[in-house]
């Protein structure tokens, strides 16, 4: 007791120091941490809201047009697809070849290839092709007429490869011609 009395100032100093540290630890630190967290959260929220507002404002002018544009995209896609036949059966192709034979007075020996997928589009629609391999014999003029017919035909059809010999003396073109017809297999998603 006498020691306390003798060094009361020292003990009081220690007590006050401890009290100060306690106050700091109990009242300051937790609240400071909580404050910083909340401030950070709100600052982030404000920043992202500002960015979002800027971004949204940027597109606000064209927003009313978007629905029409999306519809136009679909319409444009459908218009494109309409240009193709839905399928190419062997019968249809044989009829087509007979038509060519009659039109151009040619000798044709035809084999029809399998249906092949050329490419598949994002909506699942596939672009298909079917190849006609034709052993061909006609006059040069008729060969050119046939090419001209193919190019003006509304069907999407084309000579793909040819390997033709031409005899100028007899004006006969003979060899092999491959013709490809395209079709679409539309699969609506």
């Amino acid at each position: 007791m006498s020691t306390i009395k003798q060094h009361w100032k020292l003990f009081l100093s220690l007590f006050l120091l401890l009290l100060g540290i306690l106050l700091f630890c109990i009242f300051y630190l937790p609240d400071q941490i909580s404050y910083q967290q909340k401030k950070k959260q709100l600052t982030n929220s404000v920043t992202s809201l500002q960015d979002l507002l800027t971004e949204n404002k940027k597109y606000s002018d064209i927003r009313p047009l978007l629905a029409d544009e999306l519809a136009a995209i679909e319409a444009s896609r459908e218009d494109l697809y309409k240009q193709f036949p839905a399928g190419l059966s062997e019968e249809v192709l044989n009829t087509y070849v007979q038509q060519l034979e009659q039109l151009f007075g040619t000798e044709m020996n035809v084999s029809v290839g399998d249906l092949e997928t050329v490419t598949t589009l994002s909506d699942g629609t596939s672009v298909n092709s079917r190849t006609l391999t034709i052993n061909y014999k006609s006059s040069y003029a008729d060969f050119k007429n046939m090419l001209n017919y193919l190019s003006t035909d509304s069907r999407v059809i084309s000579v793909q490869t040819t390997d033709l010999d031409y005899d100028k003396a007899t004006d006969i073109v003979k060899g092999t011609v491959t013709i490809v017809l395209y079709s679409l297999n539309i699969e609506k998603q």
């Binding site: 100093s13 404050y35 949204n56």
Partner: protein
């Protein structure tokens, strides 16, 4: 007494600590509250402001991604459908009209690449006419000519007729022909070493002024001119500097630069990176070139620079160009005093745009011509790999291989030149495998601005000696002799726009593709 003071000081300090802690514990709370309240207010305000616009960006992103898919589908579809009927019809129509009557097509092969026709003619003159006609087709471009045969024999490339003016008619027609420049280069690329040597002996460039030594101003001008206009020389120089340092360390150009206190550390570092091989990236090397030029042409270093240039041919190198000859050439031209009179100067922006965008149509016409002809000519990257009849260049000692990276190097070189020089001086970089004497002759011609006029002597050689040599010797098969026919195979390339036009006629019009919304605005 001392203890008393110490105790009191401790007490006062404790009180101060307590006060500070108490202030920290309770003081800032109001300020914190205010800050949080302000932020909450700002957040609320932004939410209110944003409400009318909410979702606009998401809706646009949705549209944008759908457009992207649509656009890709559209392109994929048009890429996958190929119609060649129009091309064939138009090309055959043109051939019927333009080919000489004395010629005839005996075989037609068509693939996705183009059309190969075998043509026969009564005489060599007829085939020469056919070549000319094919070069002028509107609906196809002539890619290559091969398998030239006469009678029953195949052409021997080493057979050369002389003095026979069988191409007189062709020569007259050629005066109107603008594509002979490419033709010349393509043919030069197929020359054998013996033919090249003969050509060099006959038509190699002769300087009117002999290179002299000791004239600093001229030497400096020649070096600067060489490195700012000749990518092959620049590329070789990088290698030479490195070799010089590795083999003549104490007396090397690199060491001289390092030892020179007047040169900044930055420039020294750049030079060191070159001679130590630390930097090999072309872009970086070229970005250093401006600084390098300023130091290698200093008065006390120019002799060393010239020494390593003159000795450059003895070093192992991946770049097959004769740096010493190029230097002598530029020096001679500088001495002759026509350093600047015939160079082609170009607008920087237009050139850079053309290079960056690869958009040759909107770039400067001259850039288009030069880059397309010399930098992107198939011959530069090693010739026509699809033509099995093309001579094997790799085994021909007269035509060293070009590095596969040359195209890239050249492209970057010009980008550098355009950026750093402000204007580009286009000395024409001619394919490396053509010997330097011929390169010089053609470079002079190219710079002369007479782009539609070949030097008469080269012209004469090409059409009187070289082309006739491609045809059979006349022994037993004279021109037009009855019963003898000549044949050749020509490859023609389709026109893409004709394919698109035909598809459009069939209802598949590529230009019907919708534009993206921003594009419309």
């Amino acid at each position: 007494m001392k203890k008393y003071i110490l105790t009191n000081v401790l007490l006062i300090a404790s009180v101060i600590v307590l006060i500070v802690c108490a202030f920290l514990a309770f003081g800032p709370r109001s300020s914190w509250k205010q800050t949080i309240a302000d932020l909450q207010k700002q957040e609320q305000s932004l939410r209110t402001q944003g409400a009318p616009y909410e979702g606009a960006a998401d809706e646009y992103k949705n549209y944008s991604s759908k457009y992207k898919i649509y656009s890709k589908d559209w392109d994929d579809l048009f890429r996958s459908i190929r119609t060649y009927n129009d091309n064939l019809t138009l090309i055959l129509g043109e051939l019927d009209t333009h080919l000489p009557n004395a010629s005839s097509i005996t075989k037609i092969d068509m693939t996705a690449d183009g059309l190969t026709i075998k043509v026969s003619g009564e005489s060599k003159e007829v085939l020469a006419h056919v070549i000319m006609s094919l070069q002028n087709l509107k609906y196809a471009s002539l890619k290559s000519i091969s398998d030239i045969t006469g009678g029953t024999g195949k052409v021997s490339h080493t057979t050369r007729t002389s003095g026979e003016d069988i191409f007189a008619t062709l020569q007259n027609e050629l005066k109107q022909d603008r594509s002979r420049e490419e033709h010349l280069f393509a043919e030069l690329a197929t020359c054998g070493a013996a033919e090249m040597n003969a050509l060099i002996q006959k038509y190699g460039y002769q300087h009117t002024a002999a290179p002299t030594t000791g004239k600093f101003t001229q030497q400096k001008a020649a070096i600067i001119r060489m490195f700012s206009s000749n990518p092959f020389a620049t590329k070789k120089f990088f290698e030479v500097v490195k070799y010089d340092y590795e083999n003549n360390k104490a007396n090397s150009l690199g060491q001289m630069i390092i030892d020179d206190d007047r040169i900044t550390l930055e420039v020294k570092t750049k030079f060191k990176q070159i001679y130590t091989g630390e930097v090999t990236d072309t872009n970086t090397l070229l970005s250093y070139m401006f600084d390098i030029l300023s130091v290698i042409t200093q008065k006390d270093k120019i002799d060393t620079t010239i020494r390593i240039i003159q000795n450059s041919n003895s070093i192992p190198s991946a770049t097959n160009t004769n740096l010493a000859q190029w230097y002598n050439y530029y020096l001679a031209k500088t001495i002759e005093g026509n350093a600047n009179d015939t160079l082609v100067y170009l607008n920087k922006t237009a050139c850079a745009q053309a290079l960056i965008n690869n958009n040759w149509d909107t770039g400067h016409t001259r850039v288009n011509e030069i880059l397309l002809k010399y930098l992107y000519n198939p011959a530069v990257s090693g010739g026509d790999s699809e033509n099995p009849n093309a001579p094997d260049q790799s085994t021909d000692s007269g035509k060293p291989d070009t590095s596969p990276s040359d195209d890239l190097f050249l492209s970057r070189y010009w980008t550098w030149a355009l950026e750093k020089l402000g204007i580009a001086k286009l000395d024409l970089p001619i394919p490396e495998y053509i010997p330097i004497e011929i390169q010089i002759a053609l470079t002079d011609w190219g710079k002369s601005g007479r782009k539609n006029e070949l030097p008469q002597e080269v012209y004469n050689w090409f059409y009187h000696d070289y082309l006739p040599s491609k045809f059979p010797d006349n022994s037993g098969a004279s021109t037009g002799k009855e019963g003898t026919r000549y044949y050749m195979t020509c490859k023609l390339i389709y026109r893409e726009d004709v394919i698109l036009q035909e598809l459009a006629r069939k209802g598949l019009n590529y230009t019907n593709k919708l534009e993206k919304l921003e594009g419309k605005k």
